[in-house]
């Protein structure tokens, strides 16, 4: 439009006025675009992922997101083992919050069996899931903050995560590969005095969160790197099938815990933080506020923890107590049957979803009546979120790639399965 129209520029040297042609997009010294390959092994791609970006100057013209470097054949492996043996595999999906994966799988098989875990087991699931969710968000935010130069925040958040992981370790016996879920309940009860230790840990976690909030939320560098970047409107976010903090960052009120309550989530009072703009900063804020809500849920659950069994009393689903196995013929047979042939749900297919750290974590399981799943599929939020990455990157600067990727919080194990 203004091609050929000359701008008058006064350089202020001795009153000489010179004329310069306005620069059009691409009418630069280096006008051809350049291909930049990021990954699959790059310190800022926590997880193996490759992004091939076409850039012009600093602007990203196009980007190809290449996932699958961590593909281990989760779904194929699930078809070869029985329902409870899938549990260790689910640990390795989203390995930042493995307990939620465990319980998601358990709930799916329970829906297939049309049973419900006992109330105490449900409450234990809620407590451990919410602690895991805080760990997940802490990892996501800590790593992203570090990539933007806020190293202290990362250290504070790792410290807070360590306190929470100690709690998980105390109950499950492991930090990462917990395998704590069982079809029909949980593996073990909470330890003696868990509530008091949890309260102590939460107090310290909250102190760390206050510090992180002071360091980050109003930090000018952080805001300038996060605000107005990678904006997705509510329509775009739903169109890309986003869920979890990514969708709520765009202002869509959808949380599986509220919309389709499972494990007694409807008995707790918590809020669902929503973003207004749908940029990276909103996703950060949503995650940050969700942590406080998760802590609140834990405190309510531990205060109202019901008494009772922690796993269903059905020898075809849960292992019978050991003294029965050793002292009665029935117990022995039941134990043998369950160990050798596994849980046998009736024929049918079922889809069940829980709110994972990153969004709706769904399992689609087809049973043919045998002890092994005929087909098991995971609806992994990270994988679907990566589908929206190209859209978010178009037109952004190359430096925006890292915070955007950080806020997606891609977990390789879950994305590539």
């Amino acid at each position: 439009m203004n091609q050929g129209k000359l701008l008058e520029v006064d350089f202020g040297i001795g009153g000489i006025t010179t004329q310069a042609r306005p620069r059009e997009m691409g009418d630069d010294l280096h006008s051809e675009s350049m291909i930049v390959n990021l990954g699959p092994a790059h310190p800022a791609t926590h997880g193996t992922i490759r992004i091939v970006a076409e850039i012009s100057g600093e602007k990203i013209l196009d980007a190809d997101v290449d996932v699958g470097y961590l593909h281990r054949g989760f779904e194929k492996m699930c078809e070869t083992v029985d329902y409870n043996q899938v549990m260790p595999y689910t640990d390795r999906l989203n390995y930042v919050s493995p307990i939620i994966n465990n319980f998601g799988w358990c709930l799916t098989i329970e829906k297939l069996l049309e049973i419900e875990a006992p109330k105490r087991a449900q409450y234990i699931r809620v407590i451990l899931s919410e602690i895991s969710r805080v760990c997940d968000h802490l990892t996501c935010l800590g790593a992203s903050a570090m990539e933007l130069g806020a190293f202290t925040v990362m250290l504070y958040m790792m410290e807070a995560r360590e306190l929470l992981w100690d709690l998980l370790e105390e109950v499950t016996g492991a930090r990462l590969t917990v395998s704590f879920g069982r079809v029909g309940g949980v593996k073990e009860d909470l330890t003696e005095g868990f509530g008091a230790r949890m309260a102590g840990a939460f107090k310290q976690v909250r102190e760390h969160l206050v510090n992180c909030d002071r360091l980050l939320t109003r930090n000018r560098i952080f805001i300038e790197r996060m605000c107005d970047i990678a904006i997705l409107t509510a329509e775009e976010a739903t169109s890309f099938s986003l869920t979890g903090p990514m969708l709520r960052g765009s202002g869509v009120n959808y949380d599986v815990r509220k919309a389709f309550p499972y494990s007694s989530y409807d008995e707790f009072d918590f809020e669902v933080p929503l973003g207004s703009k749908g940029d990276n900063y909103d996703r950060f804020l949503v995650r940050f506020h969700e942590m406080e809500q998760s802590l609140r849920i834990c405190e309510q659950a531990i205060a109202r923890l019901p008494e009772g069994p922690i796993i269903v009393d059905d020898p075809h689903i849960a292992l019978v107590p050991k003294d029965e196995v050793y002292n009665s013929i029935d117990g022995m047979i039941n134990h043998f049957e369950l160990v050798m042939y596994g849980v046998k749900p009736p024929k049918g297919s079922v889809y069940n979803a829980v709110e994972g750290g990153n969004g709706e974590l769904g399992y689609y399981v087809v049973s043919d009546g045998s002890g092994k799943p005929y087909r098991a599929h995971v609806r992994a939020p990270s994988f679907i979120h990566m589908g929206s990455m190209r859209k978010m990157l178009l037109g952004a600067n190359i430096s925006d790639l890292i915070p955007t990727f950080g806020m997606i919080n891609m977990i390789g194990g879950e994305c590539d399965r």
Binding site: G68, Y254, G362, I384
Partner: protein, 202 residues
């Protein structure tokens, strides 16, 4: 708090009103509504599910497939999971797909998120999605032969390693011109000449 979730009866009624002539089978399984639709009608049904405000399925949750081998007339079954956030209801759509022409219409024009999901189904099951703008493998690599989640693909199936791809990833260090390897002459100890012992000879 959103309104109470819609009952299955109500949803089933609205569905049979809006796209009843496309629905081959409708079942209620464990509290979920599952409808079966033929491959030729899936576009129309998905369109109705999304655009009809009474149904309002605005989020495509998942696309996956099941390989039934010889157990069913049509070997494959593509499974769509839809979610309506305003109505708080879910819907499962199953589409039987034959082995001879495994092809379904793509949903990418309705939901952008369908792109990755359909690429995964293509990669894992070899079911094509007509109208998909960029149907490449996604989790496996391009040189991979076969579709791993088909039941006739062996669990322990191994494929040969592929050569390095493209000039930009070639290991140029291999083409460096190097001087001949330095040869190290065997050490001859002084004591050896005088018939001493304990010295290694090469």
């Amino acid at each position: 708090m959103a309104a109470a979730s819609r009952s299955i009866e109500e949803l089933s009624g609205v569905l049979s009103e809006t796209c009843g002539n496309y629905i081959v089978d409708s079942a209620r399984e464990r509290g979920d509504l599952i409808i079966t639709v033929l491959p030729k009608d899936i576009s129309a049904v998905l369109h109705a599910c999304k655009q009809n405000p009474q149904l309002g399925f605005n989020l495509l949750v998942d696309i996956t497939a099941v390989d039934w081998m010889d157990q069913r007339k049509e070997r494959f079954e593509v499974v769509y999971q839809l979610l309506s956030i305003p109505n708080r209801s879910r819907l499962t759509i199953k589409v039987p797909v034959s082995e001879d022409s495994p092809e379904v219409a793509s949903a990418t024009s309705l939901w952008s998120g369908a792109s990755f999901l359909e690429r995964e189904v293509w990669d894992m099951f070899g079911i094509r999605f007509s109208g998909h703008p960029d149907l490449r493998r996604i989790l496996m690599y391009e040189e991979f032969v076969g579709h791993p989640l088909r039941k006739d693909y062996p669990v322990q199936g191994k494929q040969p390693r592929i050569p390095l791809r493209g000039p930009e990833v070639e290991n140029t260090a291999r083409r460096m011109i190097r001087p001949d390897l330095v040869t190290i002459r065997p050490r001859v100890a002084a004591s050896d000449a005088s018939g001493g012992t304990g010295v290694l000879k090469r």
